[in-house]
Amino acid sequence: MLFGLPLLSLVIWLPIVAGIVVMATGSDRNAGAARWLALIGALLGFLVTLPLFAQFDPSAHGFQFQERSSWIPAFNIDYHLGIDGISLLLIVLNAFTTVLVVLAGWRVIESRVSQYMAAFLVLGGVMNGVFCALDAALFYVFFEATLIPMFIIIGVWGGSNRVYAAMKFFLYTLMGSLLTLVALIYLYNVSGSFSLPAWYELEIGLAPQILVFLAFMIAFAVKVPMWPVHTWLPDAHVEAPTGGSVVLAAIMLKLGGYGFLRLSLPIVPDASHALAGLVITLSLIAVVYIGLVALVQNDMKKLIAYSSISHMGFVTLGIFLFDELGMQGAVLQMVSHGFVSGALFLCVGVLYERMHSRQIADYGGVVNSMPVFAAFFMLFAMANAGLPGTSGFVGEFLVILGAMNVNFWYAFLAALTLILSAAYMLWMYKRVIFGPIASQHVAALKEISAREALILALLAAAVLGMGIWPQPLGAVLDNSVADLLSLAARTKLP
């Protein structure tokens, strides 16, 4: 506790309150105020995560910074917060990303500025709530509440087909999580509370475990998204405004992976082991199948969206290997994917704002007019292709090592991403950035502004820093991953 403040509550509610304040500035006449207030709110939201990082004790086991008070006593629902290393990294990533999207929307968004900024601040707070919740009902409320701001972001500031995309996004994810609610209620009936730590100790028979696992899996698989419930993502990305895509890819998808880690594995470990083969199969299909699909996309955003799905395959694969290397790899892959996919969507956004096209065919020779941008884009493309020395390598490397410990062919199929990701990223890069200048429009492109350069430089520093020295992040994860693995290794059959 810093000055006795409930840090986790601050991390959740500060951005939400800031969002409400920003919304209060009202119409676009006060857009300037809205922007600055939003930036201050986002920065404060990021600053309050720093004491978490500083005071987090990597040598301790269990949840830290716990807060607990009764919320709905009738159902034994608590406002119970607490984090481990996994949540910590995702919270910091989330707060960092919120700052970036506020900056990224600075000049681009000109209508309903206050609402736009507010939506992102609220979304950031709510997602922190998911990462902090130790009560299943609280978790569920936060988990579902994330849909609303994102639905609005896509539906209001999106592209021409935004309504279809927003609905597809909303329905897919809402339907997915309805069964989760049923599973949560079942667990409440069995245990008499919604406390996750209590559920970790609960004995459950194999049949109900499997049903609970499947109910969870549908919700989380849609969020990740896993093949074959992934088709909402490319549409959502294509229609979402740049900021929406960034948050969607960088943080929202992680809710799925986080759900597997926080709920599925420790609550229903026997079912998790029993059905690991299914998840691993779907993950490997995602890596290879989606990698090939990404190769033939004509729309840059779709390409990166498919690449996202393929990379998230590493997360689910790593989790269900039940191997220390694999699981740390999965978490680090989530963090890295947050930086890299966020950066790539920002890069596409930079081009889109100038050319109003996402079609690869409309570009060519961009390096001639935007050399600094081209350098950043190259770095992020390489990071996405898993180049060692960038963050993209860390998670994939660990997951491949973990997969090898389990089965040679898992590693073999996963490692195909080395070829596929390089193929789709660099082929796109070649067509968009290199080559002779494609048109007058490309020739007239303006180099990135100082604001854009700042955003990309922050991300570049994160990508390189994590690639060159991931040990500080790994140290935070060591005990949390070990704890989780030992929880998942127990049998809970009565």
Binding site: V293, E324, V394, L426
Partner: protein, 701 residues
């Protein structure tokens, strides 16, 4: 000493960062001074390190812990022994020569600073690769040199051929890296460590381990590891069938062809296998695979050198073939012979590439040998050094290449690896082929009639002319992150191959070709010196001394051990060589080349047409590019399209998702409110709805 180890790789890195980030600000002269200084310091320190190692001081230590997961420490650290020290000196020496040469070669290029930044960065990456004491850093360096190679092949990024070539190079290398990474993963799985020393220590005990990759079929673990690692070497060292990227890499500026695609990066695979020799020694099967791949590469790529007309491509195919020789040496279990050829080859092949570059500048970026000839009197220094390089490459005693190549041939002869008989015949006939294409190149370029005055329009079918399609200048800066854009507008001037501003004068109108400036000729001379003496001077320590004792494995059965019995000093080696078939084959190659390209220059054409199908097969590079392009590249695209259109669009979305289409239709009715200002009402309603729903369900429960 430890500080010195750090200076070696990091001096070039500092140079690269300064040139890359501040190059625009500090200008050309300061950029090249600083980067050259960095590499020169690195060379000096490497030499000191080598001297220290020769006194018996080796080092194996950690720099920092990259990460540590699941009991596997992953560290960045150095292993300084004779193998790494020799590589450090070779890399920094060639790199320094290329840095100096670049001042002349890239003189008029708008991307001058960027180029220096890249080649210094490359030097850093290559040094980290060879100095590594673990598999992780090896892989870091491995991919990093690939990245810089990618950036440099595509240095003139407006040229369609260049950016095709660099994409191809990266992807083909990634196929190799795919195998390499799996090999590393298998090492970690079994040994629980990435550290060389730990792995090598545990290797003998692992020799009897087996893995069952396909149910019912068991393989030796070490064999699988070695073959997977070797797949990585096949990519980086351009071994058949992953060699296809190297000839295309000639699209890059010539200095990097010398540095990266001849002397250093492409030898990383050879170095790696030598480094891993304690593992390879344990698997005859893996060695047989290595030998077979090397044999195919050495022989068939050499043949292609005979039919190329682009001077850089001849040297490129020659490099492929010589890399094949090195691989053959590894497969024969004579790792030290492979390393020895690596070193001598680095000198004379860098020399030949830089010499080719010197000719190319003198002829205003003409690369077709059919438009050269008679240059010896205009460019005496280039000519003389090219002669030295050619003699070394062809294996004429007492030049450097003779010793290293003869050692390989003898080693194959004495080897016990399965398939060494075929390999012996292939490398022997390869000597004739090598000599033939080498002197063909020398004669077509420097002897015979002067063909460079003919008009450029007279001939076609020469790849470089595709570049005439580019109508804009390469930008002044591309992938470095500094400064304001100062780009040329499209259509400003038309440029040909390897063209820089200032060479705009058309072919053949600029008077006779002139010898290149001193920044070009001095590196040529400095590279010519070791091309002469390095074989004679170093054969004993490399092959029969104890330079590599304890570093490179050599068992009782090693062919070099047998060879050592017959070795009585370099002079005797030469005398023996003069009576052996390789020398006479090399001489025959020289005579045939002289007859065909000096005496009867009309003959090659009729031979080519007489050979018909075979000639077409060679001229089309065995059609491998076409196969790759249509089967693999095209196949992946077709498969991707199928999965996308049939899988995602038709089945998943079309059938399952839009089965809920009516629902979507219903909701879009609701959605209309979104655009009429009720956003937050609706959101509020949803939150309330959620809570009501929750409450209802709780109540029921």
């Amino acid at each position: 000493m430890k500080t010195l180890y750090l200076v070696v790789p990091f001096a070039p890195l500092v140079g690269a960062l300064v040139a890359g980030l501040l190059g625009r600000v500090i200008g050309r002269t300061l950029t090249h001074t600083l980067t050259i200084l960095g590499v020169a310091v690195s060379l000096a320190c490497s030499a000191m390190v080598l001297a220290d190692v020769l006194e018996g001081n080796t080092f194996n230590g950690t720099l920092y812990t990259w990460m540590s997961v699941g009991g596997v420490p992953m560290q960045i650290g150095f292993l300084i022994d004779s193998l790494s020290a020799v590589m450090m000196v070779v890399v920094t020496f060639v790199s320094l020569m290329v840095h100096v040469y670049t001042i002349g070669y890239m003189h008029d290029d708008p991307g001058y600073q960027r180029f220096f930044s890249y080649i210094s960065l490359f030097t850093f990456a290559m040094l980290m690769l060879v100095m590594s004491n673990n598999f992780l850093q090896l892989f870091f360096g491995w991919e990093a040199v690939g990245l810089v190679s990618y950036l440099l092949i595509g240095f003139w990024y407006t040229r369609p051929t260049a950016i095709f070539a660099n994409l191809k190079a990266f992807l083909v290398n990634r196929i190799g890296d795919f195998g390499f990474l799996l090999g590393i993963a298998l090492v970690v799985m079994h040994f629980g460590s990435l550290d060389y020393a730990t792995v090598f220590q545990g290797a003998p005990a692992a020799a009897s381990e087996t893995v069952e990759l396909i149910p019912g079929l068991t393989w030796s673990l070490i064999t699988v590891i070695c073959i997977l690692l070797f797949v990585g070497a096949m990519g980086k060292s351009a071994q058949f069938p992953l060699h296809v990227w190297l000839p295309d890499s000639m699209e890059g500026p010539t200095p990097i062809s010398a540095l990266i695609h001849a002397a250093t990066m492409v030898t990383a695979g050879i170095f790696m296998v030598s480094r891993m020799s304690p593992l390879f020694e344990l698997s005859v099967t893996a060695l047989a695979v290595v030998l077979a791949v090397g044999t195919i590469t050495a022989f068939f790529m050499g043949l292609l050198g005979l039919v190329m007309n682009d001077i850089k491509r001849v040297v490129a195919y020659s490099t492929l073939s010589q890399l094949g020789y090195m691989t053959v040496a590894l497969g024969a279990g004579a790792y030290a012979a492979g390393m020895f050829h690596l070193v001598t080859h680095a000198f004379f092949k860098a020399l030949l590439f830089l010499g080719a570059g010197s000719v190319i500048i003198a002829l205003h970026h003409e690369q077709d040998m059919r438009r050269m000839g008679g240059l010896r009197k205009y460019m005496p220094i280039t000519y003389l050094t090219a002669v030295i390089g050619s003699l070394a490459l062809a294996g004429i005693p007492p030049f450097a290449g003779f010793f290293s190549k003869d050692a390989i041939i003898e080693a194959v002869h004495l080897s016990s690896t399965p398939g060494h008989g075929v390999a012996y015949i292939a490398v022997l006939s390869g000597v004739f082929i090598t000599s033939l294409y080498t002197f063909r190149m020398l004669f077509m370029t420097f002897h015979g009639p002067e063909r460079f005055r003919e008009s450029a329009d007279d001939h076609h079918g020469h790849a470089s002319h595709a570049h005439a399609l580019d109508t804009q200048a390469p930008d002044t800066q591309a992938l470095d992150t500094h400064g304001a854009p100062g780009h040329d507008m499209p259509g400003q001037d038309a440029r040909g191959h390897d063209v820089h501003a200032g060479h705009g004068d058309a072919h053949g109108h600029a008077g006779p070709p002139r010898e290149s400036p001193w920044v070009v000729t001095v590196p040529l001379i400095l590279l010519a010196i070791p091309s002469i003496y390095a074989g004679w001077a170093y054969i004993e320590p490399f092959l029969f001394g104890d330079l590599f004792t304890g570093v490179i494995a050599s068992g009782e059965t090693s062919p070099l051990t047998k060879l050592a019995d017959d070795f009585h000093g370099p002079a005797a080696f030469v005398l023996h060589g003069l009576q052996a078939p390789p020398f006479w084959l090399a001489l025959a190659g020289f005579v045939v080349a002289w007859y065909l390209y000096i005496r009867r220059p009309d003959l090659p054409g009729s031979i080519a047409s007489g050979l018909g199908g075979i000639y077409r097969l060679l001229a089309n590079k065995y059609y491998l590019d076409d196969i790759n392009q249509s089967v693999f590249a095209g196949g992946a695209r077709r498969l991707g399209t199928l999965l996308w259109k049939a899988g995602d669009v038709a089945v998943i979305d079309g059938f399952f998702v839009n089965g809920a289409a009516r629902l979507v239709g219903f909701f879009s009715g609701v959605m209309r409110h979104f655009q009429s200002g009720y956003v937050y009402h609706y959101a509020f309603m949803m939150i309330i709805g959620l809570f009501v729903l929750l409450t209802l369900w709780f109540a029921r429960a």
